[in-house]
Symmetry: C2
Subunit: 347 residues, 2 copies
Amino acid sequence: MTATQPGPVRNGKRPSVTDVARLAGVSVGTVSNVLNRPANVAPSTRAKVEAAIKELSFVRNASARQLRSGELNTVGAVVLDIANPFFTEMARGIEDRLAQDEYTLMLCSSDENPEREGRYLRLFEEHGVRGVIATPSEGSLDTLLAMRGRGIDVVLLDHTSPLPDLPSVAVDDVGGGALATEHLLAQGHTRLAFLNGPLTLRQCADRREGVLQTLAAHGLDPAEALVEIPLEALNADGGDEGMRRLLASAGPVPSAAFCVNDVTALGALRALRDLGVSVPGEMAVVGYDDVMFANMLATPLTSVRQPMYKMGWTAADMLLRRGAEGAAAEQVEFEPELVVRASSISG
Amino acid sequence: MTATQPGPVRNGKRPSVTDVARLAGVSVGTVSNVLNRPANVAPSTRAKVEAAIKELSFVRNASARQLRSGELNTVGAVVLDIANPFFTEMARGIEDRLAQDEYTLMLCSSDENPEREGRYLRLFEEHGVRGVIATPSEGSLDTLLAMRGRGIDVVLLDHTSPLPDLPSVAVDDVGGGALATEHLLAQGHTRLAFLNGPLTLRQCADRREGVLQTLAAHGLDPAEALVEIPLEALNADGGDEGMRRLLASAGPVPSAAFCVNDVTALGALRALRDLGVSVPGEMAVVGYDDVMFANMLATPLTSVRQPMYKMGWTAADMLLRRGAEGAAAEQVEFEPELVVRASSISG
DNA sequence: CAGACCGAGTGTAACGATTCACGCCCCCGG
DNA sequence: CCGGGGGCGTGAATCGTTACACTCGGTCTG
């Protein structure tokens, strides 16, 4: 009992069905049957084969299997940032739905880097995944369309589809941006800051659009009423740094800030705290996503809620159903919901 | 220009090297050379082949490629809970290190479910991943050892290795548990609550061990000084519910609570707030991990910090280096660090 | 009793890319 | 003019699995 390796000693190679067949004294076809259609094999034979499998600790070679039979129960997903709870919550939704059908999720994070995103998409395709769920960044839409042209199911996540027959799950971000802005204006603020990411990201562009529309609807001139702060990174440090830049900027400082997501809002709040600016007294803050910790912060964060888990679940569901019954392409759009908390309430 | 599909019309099948070769008027061997050793191909030939590849929008079949050549630049990782920032931060570290060597990460979340974890591990092996990084749950260690026996590199993450030649990256959780307890005792608390997960999880068992050791060192009887609350789930809701149970329990209520991680501490704090129990006045709280939002909560959370990103990075680095130069198995252990904040400071 | 049928198992041709031992051609030096 | 390389390409063998057409006893049916 001093063996350090379980099972028989390997001779440097994985055993194959052939090895199993030889050991069990049957043909490879039978081994394959035991593996895939056990009901078609006599119990005694099956037992012999199973014994041989255990003996050799044989593990199916997925590459060969897939090469021959084409099918693969894997779905790839590319999200913008795996460290953002917004995306991990969606990932959970995807995974749970996929697990129901014995599918597996391959999750990758593009870090908003189109090149990295492209690399992952290519990898997925080379591996022959059944489908892809992606939160596309700028430019990758073409790649996705090309993949779809080659027969890979694609579902856009957190992005409304530009094409009628391309399924997507999204949230009305223009509406969400409007919701936040409307709320801030209702609180009496007349000059707002918008800490936003690159406009090449649809989410950022749309939320901005909502801001501008709302300003216009109230007869406000953006040049007067809006200070836009472009963020270096859509994480806490980016938000922190952006807020510092806002406070240091020339001209009258706004009395309210809308952050493009909760993680950056977290950073912004940190900067405000460190600089001794009171929230919401001197600066009201609104975030976006309503992630897990939003309501537990020093000043609970007003945020625009998105049904993250449900979005992920729905996207996976659409992907699976689409393949299964050739369902028509749906384009689901959820409505965002403003959750008002202390960070934006002056009274 | 009304084609809805980019590229030439597919006849229902992916083009293969053979198709490319035919179109380019060369042999399949040459196509393969263009793909893998472009320097060995004359520029004019290469151009022809590349044109054909574009024309057909050919995509390599990774299964066939790997079947023949064996190698695959993919590493699999299984973490306990993808929605916990502790794990996603580690995942980022892994991914970044892997990207340096053009490796790709396949990330899966076992939800502390051994069966699900086993499924993912088997899947990885069937796919022939180069190595596996895993935060093992109960029982899966055998599976991992078996995989290693079959030639797959394994690195344990957030788990000290039980075997000298099995590499691992971990944090001294006994020490971490002691740190937290020592701190709470130093604050004058004499009766502590410990909101913990299942002891089948090494992290939970070790931190508990640290708690008990420290209690003993101070001459305290656990039966008197410790109230253990088993958590249903290691997430915010679990922590919330656990704290409510604690407050509702019979006997003198402790004046301090140690939560096994920050996410559950978040939930516990939420329950305390909702029930109107002041922190740290009526109940001091300490968490574990020091995740991103710990210092931004209503009452900034005292926590035991772990170098998450670095842990992930190191694990990936060990995996890659091990294969590359047959380096000896290291077992890295990081030291946890107590970060004291308002949630546990009585003065 | 012939023929159909059945369950159980066999053997082999794919699947698509890579590899490798060889050809072929052309140029160069002796 | 011949031998020898080098540079470019060729094409068949191969990886491990699955699908499929097939064999082989034996039992049922009319």
